[in-house]
């Protein structure tokens, strides 16, 4: 069990979904791949298909249309899959809360593993969030956390 978590966390393939964001968080995610931050040295890769993904990275406040797509995507992903909410919008809906096309927060639709707040979060914050996810996974059976 321990070995499985270790292998999973050493090669996280990330699928990136923009659920109606303003593009700022998307740019910050791409920044993580640039020479300055280079998350490929931790084995993290951006992949094009949800079937290859280990992490579902979601940016943007969801509206009614993208919520449907998101749910569909989550069901099509091979398990185990981890969900990361990048930016304040998917975390808490930010200033769009109560707006007419909005449905609900992200964690009311699919289970979220890690929240990375910020508008937009800096690349350091995104890397810290991924580190948080890795810590959570490896410490799972040690401390009996969720």
């Amino acid at each position: 069990m321990k070995l499985k978590e270790k292998i999973l966390t050493k090669s996280l393939w990330v699928y990136h979904l923009s659920a109606g964001s303003c593009n700022n968080c998307d740019i910050e995610i791409l920044d993580c791949l640039t020479p300055r931050f280079d998350i490929e040295r931790f084995g993290i890769q951006l992949v094009g298909s949800i079937r290859h993904a280990d992490v579902l990275l979601i940016t943007g406040a969801m509206n009614k249309k993208s919520a449907k797509i998101l749910k569909n995507l989550y069901e099509q992903a091979p398990k185990p899959i981890f969900v990361a909410a990048v930016g304040i919008c998917p975390c808490s809906q930010n200033m769009f809360k109560g707006s007419y096309p909005m449905l609900s927060a992200l964690d009311e639709i699919i289970p979220v593993d890690v929240y990375i707040p910020g508008c937009p979060p800096r690349p350091e914050a995104i890397i810290a969030g991924i580190a948080k996810l890795i810590n959570k996974l490896t410490a799972k059976d040690k401390k009996g956390q969720k």
């Binding site: 280079d38 094009g48 298909s49 290859h52 091979p78």
Partner: protein, 309 residues
């Protein structure tokens, strides 16, 4: 008996070729990273990737042709294993049989063919686009590779046995030390580039436009089979090029391995240089490049080889 088992399973066989292929793919990633002024992944990254894929769930699409969808990665891997074992046994232990060049040529078509069939069976529209591109690309590069192979065969006195091709190089000089040999080497290099889906010819798996193209619907262990076969091709194609064109004879075994690894790293380096200084070609341009530039070059090479140049 035990010797044969180790020979096919461990040393120049499956495990060795998988290990070297994974290291070769890592080198390619590392070179790319260094070209972009990045650090790049650690050396064990590809092993971890493969192991991870075997821990994941496999999803079979509802509309897919199930039998073909499941068997095509496995047949793909089987063909690649056969090629790697044959080539490695020839290079390191000098085991060969009559007509094995032709067998290897046929077996090298199977991975592309079953990638196409697997993509078609998944019924994903993007996979269909990828399969169509791969089909066209296959028509382009296979013919060019055959001309390159013909040059090597002519150079060895019309022998279709891999051991004879290497033996003539040991007796006189490596094939690459002649005009037609250089042409054939260049053609084979472009063939390997297109076969391995490296950048100027990666339209079939274009990450940015058609997601992962041919393998888009594959997940878990089935994707892992594809990954392993790609890693083993990273070993066997450079090895095929080395044994066809740059076989160098030495007495000591240590020097033999040293030369092999130097040449292997050199070929991987050339491939990653081509990868990093070129954008992805359109399928039309790639076809034009192979048919109207490389194919006449190959025919010129055959003529030169006939005159012994």
């Amino acid at each position: 008996m035990l010797k044969i088992v180790t020979q096919y399973l461990i040393f120049p066989g499956i495990i060795f070729s998988f290990f070297v292929g994974a290291m070769g793919f890592w080198l390619e990633r590392k070179f790319t990273a260094r070209f972009q002024y990045r650090v790049g992944p650690p050396w064990y990254q590809n092993f971890i990737d493969v192991m991870k894929l075997f821990l994941k769930e496999t999803i079979i699409p509802r509309n897919a042709a199930k039998t073909l969808f499941i068997t095509s990665p496995i047949i793909n891997l089987a063909a690649v294993i056969l090629v790697s074992v044959m080539l490695a046994n020839n290079y390191f232990l000098n085991i060969s049989f009559m007509g094995d060049v032709i067998v290897i040529l046929y077996l090298l078509v199977i991975p592309s063919l079953f990638t196409i069939l697997g993509a078609l069976s998944s019924k994903n529209p993007l996979a269909l686009v990828g399969a169509a591109r791969e089909t066209k690309l296959m028509l382009a590069y296979e013919f060019v590779f055959i001309t390159s192979l013909i040059i090597a065969i002519i150079k060895s006195g019309n022998s279709i046995m891999l051991a004879n091709i290497t033996a003539t190089q040991i007796l006189s000089k490596p094939n690459i030390a002649s005009a037609s040999g250089i042409i054939a080497f260049i053609l084979a290099l472009f063939y390997a580039q297109a076969k391995l889906c490296i950048v100027p010819f990666d339209m079939a798996e274009a990450e940015q436009e058609i997601m992962a193209g041919t393998v888009i619907e594959y997940s878990g262990p089935l994707l892992g089979f594809y990954k392993i076969s790609k890693l083993m091709l990273y070993f066997s194609l450079p090895l095929f090029i080395i044994s066809l064109f740059i076989k160098v004879h030495t007495q000591s075994t240590l020097l033999k391995y040293l030369i092999f690894f130097c040449l292997y790293i050199l070929i991987i380096f050339i491939m990653s240089v081509i990868k990093n200084i070129n954008p992805r070609m359109r399928i039309k341009d790639a076809l034009g490049f192979f048919w109207f530039w490389l194919l006449p070059l190959g025919i010129l090479g055959i003529v030169l080889a006939q005159f012994g140049l």
